[in-house]
C-alpha cells in the first residue's frame, strides 16, 4: 500500500506547493545496507524533511542540496559518499523538483485572448486575463482562464510583477496604446521570461515610439519585447495565432528564438 511519502507528494502536486523528491537511484554494494536503492526523502521549503536515506549526515547534505535545486526549479542527478561526502560516487540520487506551473498573463479581453487561453492551458500555464473594461473581462467570455481580472495593466503588474520569473509569460493583446504601453513598461520591470505584444507592423512602429517616449530603454525593448508577437507560421484565425504565440513562447524559453525559425526538416542539430 502507498504510505505517507506518496500521500504528501500527492498533496503538494495537487495544491501546487513546491516539493522536491529525492530518490536513491544507484548505490555501491558496501553502502546498500545503510541506504537501499529507491530510498527517498521529501523536501519542502520551511518544513521538516520527510523520511530518511539512512544516515543523518547524508540526510543533512542531500536535503540541503535538494532544497537549493527546488528553489531554482531544477531537477537532476547528484553523487555522494555514504555520509554525504562530496566528490564521492557511492550513492547516486535523482532529485526531482516539482514547482508551481508557469504563469501567463494576457492583457486584453479580446477574441485572440480566448484562443490563447485555450492553447496555453494545453501547455500547462496558469492563465490570467486582465482588462480594464468590466464589460469584456468576464468569466463567461473566458471559461478556461484560471482568473479574470478587471484592472489596469500597470496597477495589476504592480501587485503580481514581483512573482513573475523566467518560466512565466506576459502577452499584450489589447491593440490599444493606452493599455499596451503601461502593460509593456510594467512587464519590463519584472523578471518575466517572455514578453510579447500583438499588432501590425504599423501598430508596432507607433507603439515603439510611444514606449520610448514613456521612458522604456531601447536596449530593453530590443532584448525582451517580441513584437509583432508570434512565429511566422502564416496564422490568420485567433486559434492559429494562439498556436503561433505559444510556439514563440516555447522557442524563447528554449533559446531557439534567435535568427530565423527553421522547419526541423531543413535544420541540422539535435531535436531533443
Amino acid at each position: 500500500m502507498s504510505g505517507e511519502i506518496y500521500q504528501e507528494l500527492r498533496h503538494c502536486l495537487l495544491s501546487g506547493e513546491p516539493v522536491g523528491l529525492v530518490l536513491v537511484t544507484r548505490v555501491a554494494d558496501e553502502v546498500a545496507a545503510q541506504t537501499p536503492l529507491a530510498s527517498k526523502m521529501l523536501v519542502r521549503p520551511g518544513a521538516t524533511v520527510m523520511s530518511s536515506l539512512g544516515e543523518p549526515e547524508l540526510d543533512r547534505v542531500v536535503s540541503r542540496d535538494a532544497l537549493a535545486m527546488l528553489e531554482r526549479g531544477v531537477s537532476g542527478t547528484r553523487h555522494y559518499g555514504a555520509r554525504g561526502e562530496a566528490r564521492r560516487e557511492e550513492i547516486e540520487v535523482f532529485v526531482e523538483s516539482f514547482v508551481s506551473p508557469p504563469k501567463l498573463i494576457i492583457f486584453g479581453a479580446v477574441d485572440f485572448s480566448r484562443a490563447l487561453v485555450e492553447v496555453a492551458k494545453v501547455l500547462g500555464f496558469v492563465v490570467t486575463v486582465c482588462d480594464a473594461r468590466p464589460v469584456f473581462a468576464t468569466r463567461a467570455r473566458f471559461p478556461m482562464a484560471d482568473e479574470v481580472v478587471v484592472d489596469w495593466p500597470d496597477h495589476y503588474l504592480d501587485q503580481v510583477g514581483p512573482s513573475l520569473g523566467a518560466r512565466d509569460a506576459v502577452c499584450v493583446l489589447t491593440h490599444d496604446t493606452k493599455f499596451d504601453v503601461p502593460a509593456i513598461i510594467g512587464a519590463l520591470s519584472t523578471e518575466v521570461g517572455y514578453l510579447g505584444a500583438m499588432g501590425s507592423r504599423r501598430t508596432h512602429e507607433k507603439r515603439w515610439e510611444r514606449l520610448l517616449e514613456a521612458g522604456a530603454s531601447e536596449d530593453d525593448l530590443r532584448a525582451r519585447l517580441m513584437s509583432p508577437i508570434g512565429l511566422d507560421v502564416g496564422a490568420r484565425t485567433p486559434e492559429e495565432t494562439a498556436v503561433s504565440i505559444c510556439a514563440e513562447i516555447i522557442a524563447v524559453r528554449s533559446g531557439r528564438a534567435q535568427g530565423a525559425m527553421t522547419p526541423l526538416r531543413d535544420a541540422l542539430g539535435p531535436i531533443h
Partner: protein
C-alpha cells in the same frame, strides 16, 4: 507525475498493487526528460509514459517483475546495431529508469 495521480488513486481505491517507473537519466537524444513517470498495476494496466512509446512494453514487463519480487531495480534501454531487434529507443539515445513498488 501529476498526470498519473488520478489513475493511481483509482487503483489504490480498488486495492491494486502498483509499480512506478521513473526516468532518472537520459543520454543523448531521448523523447521524455528525467522525471517522466509511468504507473503499472498488477493487472498490467498503464498510466503515463516514459518514452515516445518505444520502450513502454518492456517497462510493463519490468514493472510486473518488480511487483512479483517487491524489489526496486534500475534498468536502461538503449539502441545499438547488434540489438536492432531488441527493445530500444529508435532515436538513438539511452534512457535510465528506476522501477519500484509503490509501497512508500
Amino acid at each position: 507525475m501529476k498526470e498519473i495521480l488520478s489513475t493511481v488513486d483509482t487503483w489504490l481505491a480498488q486495492g491494486k498493487r502498483i509499480a512506478i517507473a521513473r526516468v532518472i537519466g537520459v543520454e543523448q537524444s531521448g523523447p521524455r526528460d528525467p522525471g517522466a513517470t509511468m504507473a503499472v498495476n498488477e493487472d498490467g494496466e498503464v498510466a503515463g509514459s516514459v518514452s515516445g512509446g518505444c520502450v513502454e512494453g518492456a517497462v510493463v514487463t519490468e514493472a510486473l517483475e518488480v511487483l512479483a519480487t517487491g524489489v526496486a531495480r534500475r534498468c536502461s534501454f538503449g539502441y545499438s546495431d547488434d540489438q536492432a531487434f531488441a527493445v530500444g529507443l529508435t532515436c538513438g539515445g539511452t534512457v535510465h529508469l528506476l522501477v519500484e513498488p509503490l509501497d512508500w
